[in-house]
């Protein structure tokens, strides 16, 4: 059975109206009605009380009705067009982008000759296409836009929400070195645990390698963060900023010259009888290192008794 999407309730695909959609539709109507009554009442009463301080109570009541009525109507309208607002929010980047491009094009067309237009379009398209850093940045941004829609599709298509069909608010997204990070705000009916059980499906819907979800902060359990992974970074070699700290022009500190060790092959090392070994260590109570590498000047003559 097809699940509802708010788009359908909004009438985009009116051919597939189902029982649930009718319910959703009715509930939206009912909420709008409630909003009308409550807004009208509250605004009306407040206006009446404030106004009655300066005018006759009956006049104040009339004023209250006059102000409360339109306020209620405004609230009703807001609730009825909420799906449109939501739609605009979802498509805001695209709407803004298209508007900007159209506006820019119209302005260009009005103020410049044809060849200038060609040059400008060539630059705007050519530079990002040719400079890899800009290109990668733009592609990453495009993925951010796409992934917001993909997440919305996930919520609408297979993540069971609440009875009224409200979807989580998909807030903003930004590129990360491995993919994207998207912040969302859950509506009643979902929790992190619900989403954690569906990460595989979400990854498929986002064309990603894997998806992780966790709380975005300590405080609010509705405020979540999706991490969408498209690339693996853990196989890369990681450098460190320590190397940049080094000033290549510093002079070298003089150092105790290292004595090159001898006896680097098995036949060079004689079989040492246990007796000789004991005698040697008695002669040199600090014989703690292979002589060749005793390069640490500070530790050669420690007297423990100084320290305990």
């Amino acid at each position: 059975m097809p699940k509802f999407t708010p788009n359908r309730a909004f009438g985009r695909r009116s051919g597939t109206v189902t029982v649930i959609e009718a319910k959703v539709h009715r509930s939206s109507e009912r909420r709008a009605r409630f909003a009308f009554i409550i807004a009208a009442l509250v605004v009306g009463v407040v206006t009446m009380i404030v106004a009655s301080a300066t005018m006759h109570p009956i006049l104040a009541a009339l004023l209250g009705v006059a102000v409360g009525g339109p306020s209620g109507a405004l609230a009703w309208a807001l609730f009825r067009i909420w799906p449109v607002i939501r739609l605009v929010w979802w498509w805001l980047p695209e709407i803004a982008f298209v508007t900007a491009v159209m506006y820019g094009w119209v302005q260009l067309a009005q103020h410049t000759p044809m060849w200038v237009r060609f040059v400008i379009v060539g630059l705007v398209v050519g530079v990002p296409a040719l400079v890899p850093a800009i290109r990668r940045r733009l592609i990453a941004l495009a993925w951010c836009v796409i992934v917001r829609h993909r997440l919305r599709v996930c919520f609408a298509q297979f993540i069971v929400a609440n009875q009224s069909g409200s979807l989580p608010l998909i807030l903003w997204a930004r590129p990360t070195p491995v993919g994207e990070r998207v912040w969302i705000y859950l509506r009643p009916g979902l929790s992190v645990a619900d989403l954690q059980g569906r990460l595989e499906k979400i990854a498929v819907a986002c064309h990603a390698y894997s998806v992780l979800v966790e709380r975005a902060g300590e405080g609010n359990s509705a405020y979540l963060r999706f991490d969408i992974k498209r690339r693996e970074v853990l196989t890369a070699n990681v450098g460190t900023p320590l190397v940049d700290v080094v000033d290549p022009d510093t002079p070298k500190v003089p150092r105790q010259p290292a004595t090159m060790p001898t006896a680097l092959d098995l036949p060079d090392v004689a079989d040492e009888p246990a007796l000789a070994k004991a005698a040697k260590s008695a002669g040199n109570p600090n014989g703690k290192k292979p002589a060749a590498s005793s390069a640490d000047p500070s530790s050669t003559d420690d007297d423990i008794n100084d320290w305990i």
Partner: protein
């Protein structure tokens, strides 16, 4: 002998470093989202474990490099293999090779210092050293811990080493004396769980089995999907990093090539050159 090596309470402090401090979180690498991971090592201690070739010594060298460049920081190095931490021996206050007696005496000194520092804190009505105290940070780095606790020396020596180390690890964290250690498999004979749990940060590099992974990170993590045996053997330096209380995180440690290590060590030696005492290697030899 150079004067850097004396007086662990830091009255002849190391000359000024380039503004780095061990009290700043240390950069260790990136997490699976490509974001930098920093560890607050001074107050925690760090244990790296995993199979040979996993990248433990790489992480230790990174820590040593960071400490080397930090202002007013002393290095105490234990490396039975000589070459892993050897590049830092010139700037270390102590470098312990294969001599367990030396290791024990150094640990004993460190524990005494820690003890004195707590007395000092008590006298100042405080519980924790911070960056504004005029005390040096003494970073103890031990590679292949098992060499000291099971291979070298005699049984009583090993036991003494272990108990002193336990003392240092548990005492060091609030008095600016962190311990960073690496071992292959912290099973009970090498590091008992009680000692393991004193290390606030634990990095599990690649392991051969689910059990080893659990031994490093703690019981039950592998079953929840945090299994260091899953790390590809060709991906050296990748690890699960467990910070106190949190979930293990997949990280990739930053890596210093040999050339980088020597460049940093030389630079650190220059920064730390004694400005008052004349250099006299003849005395040291």
């Amino acid at each position: 002998m150079s004067s850097i090596a004396r007086d662990p309470l830091g009255t002849d402090r190391v000359p000024v470093g380039p503004g780095l401090s061990m009290f700043d979180p240390m950069f260790v690498g990136i997490d699976e989202f490509g974001e930098a991971v920093f560890l607050d090592v001074v107050y925690r201690n760090l244990l790296a474990a995993g199979e040979p070739g996993g990248g433990k010594s790489g992480l230790l060298n990174l820590a040593a490099g960071t400490a080397a460049l930090c202002d007013n920081t002393r290095l105490v190095l234990f490396d039975a293999k000589w070459v892993e931490l050897g590049p830092w021996r010139h700037i270390a206050d102590e470098f312990v090779g294969r001599d367990l007696d030396h290791a024990i005496s150094v640990l004993r000194r460190l524990v005494t210092v820690a003890d004195n520092r707590y007395q000092w804190l008590l006298a100042h009505e405080r519980r924790k050293v911070n960056r504004y105290d005029d005390l040096s940070v003494i970073v103890t780095i031990i590679d292949e811990l098992a060499m000291y606790s099971t291979v070298l020396g005699t049984k009583p020596q090993q036991e003494e080493f272990e108990s002193l180390l336990r003392g240092l690890v548990s005492l060091g964290r609030a008095c600016g004396m962190p311990v960073i250690a690496a071992t292959q498999r912290p099973s009970w004979d090498i590091i008992p769980a009680s000692l393991r749990d004193l290390f606030g940060f634990r990095a599990a590099f690649r392991c051969t089995s689910l059990n080893s992974s659990n031994i490093i990170l703690g019981q039950g993590w592998a079953e929840q999907g945090y299994n260091a045996a899953d790390i590809s053997p060709t991906n050296q330096g990748a690890a699960y990093l467990l910070a106190e209380g949190g979930l293990p995180r997949r990280v990739k440690a930053a890596y210093l090539s040999d050339a980088d290590i020597y460049a940093i060590a030389d630079y650190a030696a220059w920064l730390r050159r004694p400005t008052t005492a004349a250099f006299d290697w003849g005395m040291a030899a």
